[in-house]
């Protein structure tokens, strides 16, 4: 019988490290949010890099808003995506989603507009159809 392959996803590594220090009960929850915070900051760096130079107040607002949205949205979004695409695992999606939210940053409005235009294009009746 072959031994199971070790799980080397970033979350599993962080959880394994935390288990050494905080115990197995708290480690999974702390591990997920530690990972989300690390990913969020990486995403914020990319998001601020993509922004044209802005006043510090605007950077502070961007940082706080993306932190709140990332903490609130990452776990539910990962669950929803994993439910609709069984190939993906919710745990493995936490890191990329938490990076993506602040990294896309001010372009989310453009993304929303693009999705809306796609939706309108596909839902509009084609020529000759009634």
């Amino acid at each position: 019988m072959t031994p199971p392959e070790p799980d080397l996803s970033p979350l599993s590594v962080v959880v394994a490290l935390l288990t050494l220090f905080v115990g197995p009960q708290l480690a999974p929850a702390l591990g997920a949010y530690s990972l989300i915070l690390i990913a969020w900051f990486g995403g914020v760096l990319i998001g601020v890099w993509r922004l044209p130079p802005a006043p510090r107040g605007m950077v502070a607002v961007f940082t706080v808003v993306t932190l709140i949205v990332t903490l609130g949205v990452t776990v539910p979004a990962a669950d929803v995506l994993a439910r609709h695409m069984p190939v993906l695992e919710a745990k493995g999606l936490l890191f990329p989603i938490a990076v993506l939210i602040p990294a896309v940053g001010h372009s989310w409005l453009d993304v929303a507009a693009w999705v809306w235009s796609l939706r309108r294009r596909f839902s509009a009746p084609k020529e000759g159809e009634q």
Binding site: V14, S34, I38, V44, V48, W49, T63
Partner: protein, 90 residues
């Protein structure tokens, strides 16, 4: 929370804020990518220092500082880079 932990928290958040302010001054079309990645490495070291358990926090901070220094080593290869000299009297 102990005094040392509170001071560390304040210093780490201040460091992260300083890095965000520097990245904000960078311009994608002008600033070299390595300068961004150098600061990103340092910033990620700081956030890991904030959220990871103490011993791994030290590892992350040390790694961030080392990556920051290594990624600027080319500028220092042939002596101190431009902008580091004292102003000479005319």
């Amino acid at each position: 929370m102990s005094t040392a932990a509170a001071i560390a928290l304040g210093l780490l958040v201040a460091g992260m804020w300083a890095i965000l302010c520097r990245v904000n001054q960078m311009q994608r079309s002008v600033t070299r990518g390595i300068v961004f990645w150098q600061h990103a490495a340092l910033g990620l070291g700081l956030i890991c220092g904030l959220v990871l358990p103490a011993e791994w926090a030290r590892v992350a901070l040390a790694a961030g500082v080392l990556l920051f220094l290594l990624s600027s080593s080319a500028r220092w290869k042939d002596g101190a880079p431009a902008g580091t000299e004292k102003e000479r009297a005319q």
